[in-house]
Amino acid sequence: MAENILEIKDLTIHYVVEKETVEAVNHVNLTLAKGETLGLVGETGAGKTTLAKGVMGIIPNPPGKIRGGEILFEGEDLLKKDKKAMQKIRGEKISMIFQDPMTALNPVMTVGDQIAEVLRLHQHVSAKEAGQKAKELLEMVGIPGQRASEYPHQFSGGMKQRVVIAIALACRPELLIADEPTTALDVTIQMQVLDLMNNLKKQLGTSMILITHDFGVVAEMCEKVAIMYAGEVVEYGTARDIFNHGCHPYTRGLFESLPSLNEDQPRLKPIVGLMPDPTKLPVGCSFAPRCPFCTDACLEKKCETTNLTETHQVKCDYAVRTFNGEV
């Protein structure tokens, strides 16, 4: 088995706002092997972005509080690092791409300077060298090097996202966290960017966490998939495990809500109800109120995470029974 670059153990992150506690991430366990891409899938408010920010060490405190757990990056616990060490790790070893390429760039700096700035900050190279490397990086993401002296507004949305990727990859990070990197882009442009990211990943051997709500993007990009619901990972496995043998009622509900391009469905089968209020999570399973297979036991107590196969884990006893063909 490949070496794990990232291991998240029992991570819990809460936001405390006045008297209310938002339980954003609850007892999450995840592992990511070197060179792999992990897809983090879930709906708005599932805690995907909070988890990513936790790994980056950029949870604002207050109101964010890390209540427990470990984030082992290359064997070292990031939560025990001081501010300065984390700053060094961010950008050099771990970097992040945000959803909106329109706001991620500084409008009054040329794109070349913005890339060079990262290089100078982390690699301490001369201005001239950094400028040269910035051009190379632009070429790498498919933008002609001479456009380095242009400003962000002269680029289209897809081009800006390429620049953002170039900045994120400037220091050859070990781990790239991409938060909905193509959601704001059109389909044809999205395909260009996904293709680029896939190629760069192969070329540079970067490990990646890809946050998205789009199963199509996951299938295109990821080896591993984690399904998040109300701050918990409810199912985790390889892409094949999830797409072909996904058995958590929530995972199945998500797949059934998708309109399909290949078959005719007279009606969609949405998941009934809404995600629970993260300040008032139910005592039992968070999904129980919306689950068609909910029992009294589900309302009282959360299920433990069970290993179905070596790679496939699920947090639902009913799902375990269906997987084993007992139901």
Partner: protein, 316 residues
């Protein structure tokens, strides 16, 4: 055949400092009563502008719009008021399309008040409750404000408000693209039920091809303000002709493993709709473009009944 809406050579240009922006350029189509026309295209292709011109939020630059056989392109304020009863719109963003200072009931009842539909308060309140029930909003949320509700419920308010005047045509401008998949499915089902029960006609503007396939009878594909292809939904997915339609379909990420992934990756990006050059607008990105494509605009041709394509390279 009962044509409810006909659009002929519709144009909408905007004056910008850089020149004329051709947002909608020569679009023609008809919709049958009770059917759904899906309008797809990438950002900036003019699909939302077209929807707004049809409901008269924007004035057409040129062309004609017929509603139930009457020319409604230019209307006076009395006719416009009548038109508001017949055509409504559901907006994309359930967060900015509702006045944050109004309660759910007030939002839904506003069109009823404006058009003075009810003389007594009881009938009015009854109708609001009825509308809330139709779209699946619990009575108890009636006095809440939109910010206290989630995206799905907010979009239900938008739908109830659009239904209040019992319109015949509803332009849906990306009504589900801001919603999560499970909520998206709830809203799509609701829209389809409403169509069945009330005989509504939809113009469904979206960039999401799987959604448009699910809900539409006919699909219109737009590129830089122009129609490139229009045909029945099934035909578009099985027998599409235009290279842009092909590229668009091929670019959709497939949510399955163990499938063959052969994405045709389009080069380049959408060019500017300001003072477009003559010739096919897709030509700069088209893998099959010839000399002729760059110099001469392709006409929209009906290659078989109900299937329209604007491309020089499509022969049959």
């Amino acid at each position: 055949m009962d044509t409810i809406l006909e659009v002929k050579n519709l144009k909408k240009y905007f004056d910008t400092p850089g020149g004329k922006l051709h947002a909608v350029d020569d679009v023609s189509f008809t919709i049958e009563r009770g059917k759904t026309l899906g309008v797809v295209g990438e950002s900036g292709c003019g699909k939302s502008t077209m929807g707004r011109v049809i409901v008269h939020l924007l004035e057409a630059t040129d062309g004609k719009i017929f509603f139930e056989g009457n020319d409604i392109t230019r209307v006076n304020s009395a006719e416009l008021k009548k038109l508001r009863n017949d055509m409504q719109m559901i907006f994309q963003d359930p967060y900015s399309s509702l006045d944050p200072r109004m309660t759910v009931r007030d939002l839904i009842g506003e069109p009823l008040k404006t058009h003075k539909i009810f003389k007594n308060k009881e009938d009015y309140e009854k109708r609001v409750s009825e509308l809330m029930e139709t779209v699946g909003l619990a009575e108890r949320v009636g006095l809440q404000y939109p910010h206290e509700l989630d995206g799905g419920r907010r979009q239900r308010i938008g739908i109830a408000r659009a239904l209040a005047l019992e319109p015949k045509v509803i332009v849906c401008d990306e009504p589900v693209s801001a919603l999560d998949v499970s909520i998206q499915a709830q809203i799509l089902n609701l829209l389809m039920d409403l169509q069945d029960n009330q005989g509504l006609t939809y113009i469904f503007v979206t960039h999401d091809l799987s959604v448009v396939k699910h809900i539409s009878d006919d699909i219109l594909v737009m590129y830089l303000g122009q129609m490139v292809e229009k045909c029945p939904s099934k035909e578009l997915f099985e027998n599409n002709k235009h290279p842009y339609t092909k590229a668009l379909l091929s670019a959709i990420p497939i949510p399955a493993v163990d499938v063959e992934r052969k994405h045709e990756i389009l080069k380049g990006e959408i060019s500017s709709p300001i003072n477009p050059k003559p010739g096919c607008r897709f030509a700069p990105r088209c893998p099959y473009a010839t000399e002729k494509c760059h110099s001469q605009s392709p006409e929209l041709r009906e290659i078989k009944p109900g299937h329209f394509v604007a491309c020089h390279m499509v022969t049959e």
